[in-house]
């Protein structure tokens, strides 16, 4: 863990920094194991830039004569430029940033070194645990139970140790049927709709294979999910064709003959590399400076990002509709059950469940459905849109979720308890963070590395900044919030994709004004009450 071997030049004087929305500055550049530090000369430490190297997505260098320019493209879409005197220094700095920004070992990453002065590492990491979640949900206890079949991560390496399953299915059966699901991700409860007792269950695809294997235990479990109801729905996030093809590689779908009471609905959702490329194209389009409307609209269309937003929201809408309107339980899966399934189950919960729409509720939902449920953050978020590295496991599924949540937030500005600032913060933290929350690919990896003991939890930190991350307009509603997925109702998430343009400042200003107005009103209400109370005090 010798960072110093990657740092040949640690300090450079007389560097010019250009960054969006701020005047250029001249000062000292300093590279440490995890950070790039820039302090403006003679500014008494007032203006500084502290950039986590992990957030650098691409480094481009250009040398001319005795000096060079490094362009740093960040994972939060910010682009910085450094003019560095001295060619060798320039190359050294560029090399250090390149190397240190993509360290492979998780335990070398900054969250393990982050020690804020005002905090101490304490026992409780995260907002909730599966156990806590289950014990609080009294309504579950009749039909469901908490199983610790996965306590050693042996049944399913990507699941947490405790899972909620139908009460009548014992651990032995679970062990058997887990073998029938890819990666052992057997169907588990992820949402219980209190209004009608229906459930959302998620899993990975059944390993049916070319010769149409069946698994009685799996059928038993699913039968138990819809016990007392006439049928259930399976939402497969692949097209029927893709599901058929999956049999060739050992996967498959729930056939009618074995799962007679389940009705399958296929909704093709883009995933993996295609999604990553969509993001790359969109970011490229946003950077186009030709000022040509036709070109912009055609690039926007060509990126397909908004189509993916539309599909995700409409599939989530379908899922919520099955549960809330149609009154049936639903099983959600695609192939691995770690990406699109999580995406739509999360969105459906936001649509239906008012408890998920508060600041805590939303963060708890993310923790449960993404961190604990084993979304492979480390693989998916290794690089963002600017990276020149070949796309491997990267895929902006979580970013797509945030975009969809933003669309909900925009369509229902009063119904969600959190602000756009929260979504933006999450969008950058997921790629590079001081906190350990988004490290690793699963709970098991996090345990092995001691993430929960050695790093701080992002969600807890966010809750300490409640003023910034809560929505001043929030007015809880018990109703479901059905999003419109008409193309005209969906918009480019300017706050994120055009975050570093001056135009977005105006919108932020408006948000500030809203917050100010609401707070002012509350302040006045308080003073009125106080003044009203004072004379009565005097009189007593």
């Amino acid at each position: 863990m010798e960072f110093s071997e990657h740092i040949r030049t640690a300090n450079v004087e007389d560097v010019e920094l250009r960054q969006p929305l701020q005047p250029a500055g001249r000062g000292t550049l300093c590279i440490t194991g995890h950070h790039l530090l820039f302090s403006v000369r003679g500014d008494g430490g007032g203006r500084q830039l502290l950039l986590l190297l992990r957030s650098v997505d691409a480094v481009e260098k250009r040398t001319s004569g005795s000096s060079g320019t490094i362009t740093i493209k960040c994972k939060d879409l910010r682009v910085l430029q450094l003019d560095i005197p001295g060619m060798e220094q320039c190359l050294n700095i560029a090399h250090s940033i390149e190397t240190l920004s993509c360290l492979d070992r998780v335990s070398d990453m900054f969250p393990f070194f982050y020690r804020p002065v005002d905090l101490r590492l304490q026992g409780c990491w995260g907002l909730s645990s599966p156990e806590g979640h289950f014990s609080q949900a009294q309504e579950l206890h009749q039909k469901w139970r908490l199983s610790s079949v996965n306590k050693d991560y042996l049944v399913c390496p990507s699941y947490p140790p405790a899972l909620i399953v139908p009460a009548c299915i014992d651990d032995k059966t679970l062990r058997k049927l887990a073998k029938f699901r890819q990666g052992g991700r057997f169907p588990v409860l992820c949402y219980y709709h209190r209004k009608n007792g229906m459930a959302i269950v998620r899993s990975s695809q059944p390993l049916m294979g070319a010769n149409r294997k069946c698994c009685t235990e799996d059928e038993q479990l699913l039968e138990a999910v819809i016990e007392g109801s006439d049928k259930g729905y399976i939402i497969d996030t692949r097209s029927s064709q893709q599901a058929q093809q999956a049999r060739m590689t050992g996967g498959g779908f729930e056939s009618k003959s074995c799962y007679g009471r389940w009705k399958r609905l296929h909704r093709q959702m883009e995933r993996g590399k295609a999604l990553q490329e969509s993001l790359i194209k969109l970011v490229e389009a946003c950077g186009d400076e030709s000022h040509n409307m036709d070109r912009w609209l055609s690039k926007l269309e060509n990126s397909k990002w908004l189509s993916h937003v539309q599909t995700a929201l409409s599939t989530a809408g379908l899922l919520a509709e099955c549960v809330e309107r149609d009154g049936h339980s639903v099983l959600v899966h695609g192939s691995e059950g770690t990406d699109c399934s999580l995406l739509i189950s999360t969105l459906a919960q936001l649509i239906m469940d008012p408890r998920c729409r508060t600041l805590e509720g939303f963060l708890t939902l993310l923790e449960r459905e993404w961190v604990q449920a084993g979304h492979p953050f480390q693989q998916r978020c290794a690089h963002s849109a600017y990276s020149h590295a070949r796309v491997q496991q990267e895929s902006p599924v979580f970013l797509l979720l945030l975009d969809c949540v933003w669309q909900l937030w925009r369509q229902f500005p009063l119904a969600l308890g959190f602000s756009e600032a929260l979504l933006l913060r999450l969008a950058s933290e997921v790629y590079a963070s001081d906190y350990g929350t988004f490290l690793c690919n699963s709970d098991q990896e996090r345990c092995l590395l001691g993430v929960k003991e050695k790093t701080y939890c992002l969600f807890q930190a966010l809750l300490r900044d409640r003023d910034l991350y809560s929505n001043p307009l929030y007015e809880p509603t018990e109703l479901a919030i059905w999003p419109s997925v008409h193309p005209q109702s969906l918009q480019l998430w300017r706050g994120f994709f055009l975050r570093w343009t001056p135009q977005v400042r105006q919108l932020e200003e408006a948000q500030e004004e809203i917050r100010h107005m609401v707070m002012e009103c509350a302040r006045l209400a308080l003073s009125v009450r106080d003044t009203a109370a004072r004379p009565s005090e005097n009189s007593s």
């Binding site: 097209s239 609209l297 055609s298 809203i514 107005m517 209400a525 009450r529 009203a532």
Partner: protein, 684 residues
């Protein structure tokens, strides 16, 4: 069969479906045809919902072939609503169709609604209503007349230019002779006059029509006029002349053939340089003739920089009214697509070219504003006749330059000045009378949209909200008030509109509480000076509120604007209460009293007052003219309205397509449409 006039008659058991309003199931009721409106009253005794459609709002009536259940009419409205009517008897349908076709295309001004519309006001109030917007006061507000710009009597009685107002401001050094000479050299006599004077830099925005320069024509007075404009700005030694037309098109309109002939002629000249004097003479005569011919044919053009010293010519490509008309039709079609995919939608948006045109207009405004505010250079704007693109460019520039025009009253003044007074041809452009369809074009729509795009970019900079812009939009078309009637001031005077109709502005002012943007900040510095918008393509959006009624009337979305208006009102009340309390406290210090507990008022959403809709056109109808009371009801947005939930799809539809293994339907190929019903609620 002979057509019976259906005015004053009614047809029962009619079914009406306003799909563009998000309605799914048709309502049954009675259809009345009055002299001014089509009125539909629902049978349902509980609601008795009424739908009012002024005839002037109808842009087209289409009759579909009869079916067993009746005959269907499609009413297309100028505010982009579409109403389907199913009439049981074919005979009735034919008659109504014919009557409506006639009524929606009045031939004379006297048939228009505003001349029969009689809000309950007396003569004095009517006269007052016309004085509500005072242009002279606005010129005084911007500091003219002064020692640079003065009024001229040249156009009194519209002698010099019949499409200009009689009150005009010109450079102090422009003599009447110069004005008259310049006007003869300008298309329709529209010589350079002041539109906006920027007190901070003393630079001005001026407007005129194109010079009739052809190829070689020049006019000394016109050159002096431009010189005078320049001299009226002491800080600069040149002016910008902004021609808002695309330069390439302009050259093409001057005659491709001509340039080809000229080229051949020039070759001839070179060839004949060495030849005989006679041939030379012949050639010269030929060239002169050619030039004159071209001049007569084209007779138009732009300022030649060789003749006008001290000008800088700038072309900004805003397309002509015909391009804009068809572009808007395309954007309306995009809005009417039933369940488009994102690709269809974005492709349609691109294909319409609409946002490109909006961007061009905004770019023109930005150029002018920048020249005036940042460089301190005066700008002279023109297009061909100087009443469409010029009005757009000038008014957008004013909006950017002066925060006053971003207030409710200011926008009224701006429209009155740059559009109404300067002879924008309202009656032609918005088809108030049956006339040449080629004259129709959404020119002012585009200005309103520019204002909307700006308000989206600067949420705190505008006092008015989207509703105000939409209200103005529908009044421009509806002819309920006389404000927008006619094509110029002279025509309005000749029609004696001020005696026979009412001005719309006081009415809108009365309703300003619902047009106010709660986020508007009067004292915010960055948005209170000159607006410097970003005109990158990604800053433009489709104006859903105007073009997509389906969306507008979907289950009432939670409106932050209404919420904030309530908050703002509440704060005001609390503040008053606080002051009261403090006063009482000071008065009562020391005295033991029992103090009543002041309850903190519970936040209530402001509900718009329910408007009455009787058999006569309600005097106070506003905004959404087309419908009486229902227009208001969907704005009310009660907080716990169960309609907040929107059916994703009809349930029966849903179960019918659930299983794949039946092999019947491949669900994946269905357009996934969460918020849209696939099932067409048809009339029959």
């Amino acid at each position: 069969m002979p057509i019976r006039n259906k005015i004053g008659e009614m047809v029962e058991n009619v079914r009406l479906l306003e799909r563009s309003c998000g309605q799914r199931k048709p309502s049954v009721g009675t259809l009345y045809l009055s002299a001014t409106h089509t009125i539909f009253v629902e049978n349902n005794p509980e609601t008795r919902k009424e739908t009012w459609v002024p005839h002037s709002m109808v842009s087209g009536v289409e009759r579909l072939p009869p079916s067993p259940t009746g005959s269907q009419l499609i009413l297309r409205c100028k505010d982009f609503r579409v109403i389907l009517v199913l009439i049981p008897q074919e005979r009735d349908c034919v008659d109504i169709h014919a009557s409506l076709a006639r009524l929606s295309r009045p031939e004379k001004y006297s048939e228009l609604y505003c001349l029969s519309f009689n809000p309950n006001v007396n003569k004095e109030q009517r006269e007052e209503s016309w004085a509500f917007v005072d242009l002279a006061a606005d010129y005084r507000r911007m500091g003219v007349p002064n020692n640079l710009w003065v009024t001229t009597a040249a156009n009194s009685e519209y002698r010099v230019c019949d499409t200009y107002p009689s009150e005009l401001f010109v450079p102090k050094s422009a003599t009447p002779a110069v004005i008259v000479g310049s006007s003869r050299f300008r298309s329709r006599g529209r010589f350079p006059v002041l539109s906006y004077f920027h007190q901070d830099t003393l630079a001005a925005v001026c407007r005129c029509s194109q010079p009739l320069s052809g190829f070689s024509g020049r006019c000394q007075e016109d050159e002096m006029m431009l010189q005078a404009v320049m001299k009226s700005n002491p800080g600069s030694d040149y002016i910008y002349v902004v021609d808002t037309r695309p330069k390439t098109v302009l050259c093409a309109s001057l005659g491709k053939e001509y340039s080809e002939v000229m080229e051949t002629a020039m070759k001839l000249v070179n060839y004949l340089r060495s030849s005989s004097a006679l041939q030379h003479c012949l050639l010269r005569a030929f060239l002169n003739e050619l030039n004159a011919m071209a001049n007569r044919a084209a007779g138009k053009g732009y300022e030649n920089e060789d003749h006008y010293t001290n000008i800088k010519l700038q072309f900004i490509g805003i397309e002509n009214i015909h391009v804009m008309r068809s572009s808007q039709q395309k954007i309306v079609d995009v809005g009417e697509m039933r369940s488009p995919s994102m690709t269809d939608f974005l492709f349609g948006l691109e294909n319409s070219g609409w946002l490109k045109h909006i961007k061009a207009i905004l770019d023109a405004g930005v150029f002018i504003a920048r020249a005036v505010a940042d460089e301190g250079i005066s700008v002279l704007v023109h297009c061909s006749d100087g009443w469409d693109r010029t009005a757009q460019a000038c008014s957008v520039a004013s909006l950017l330059l002066d925060p006053y025009y971003r207030t409710i009253r200011g926008l009224m003044v701006l429209i009155e000045r740059d559009w109404v007074s300067f002879g924008h041809k309202f009656s032609h452009r918005y088809a108030h009378l049956d006339g040449d369809p080629k004259e129709v074009s959404p020119v002012l729509d585009q200005f309103l949209e520019c204002a909307w795009q700006l308000s989206e970019q600067f949420p705190c900079a505008f006092e008015f909200n989207e509703r105000f812009l939409i209200a103005v939009h529908s009044h421009i078309y509806s002819c309920q008030y006389g404000t927008f009637l006619g094509n110029c001031e002279k025509e309005r005077r000749d029609l004696r509109l001020r005696e026979h109709s009412h001005s719309v502005w006081p009415q809108l002012w009365k309703e300003r509480s619902q047009f106010t943007n709660p986020l508007y900040q009067t004292d915010l510095s960055p948005s209170q000076g000159v607006l410097r918008p970003n005109t990158s393509p990604y800053c433009f959006k489709l104006w859903k509120g105007l073009y997509n009624h389906t969306e507008k009337s979907m289950p009432p979305r939670q409106s932050p604007a209404d919420f904030l208006s309530t908050v703002r009102e509440e704060s005001k009340q609390l503040e008053e209460e606080l002051t009261n309390q403090q006063e009482r406290l000071t008065a009562l210090t020391g005295k033991p009293i029992t103090w009543e507990k002041v309850a903190v008022p519970r936040r209530r959403r402001r509900t718009d007052c329910q408007k009455h809709g009787g058999p006569d056109p309600p005097a106070t109808t506003h905004g959404r003219l087309i419908s009486g009371p229902d227009g208001q009801t969907d704005r009310k947005a009660p907080r716990k309205d169960p309609a907040l939930t929107l059916p994703l799809r009809d349930t029966d539809d849903f179960s019918a397509c659930s299983d794949l293994e039946s092999g019947v339907a491949d669900l994946s190929s269905r357009s996934s449409s969460g918020g849209d019903d696939n099932k067409e609620a048809e009339l029959e």
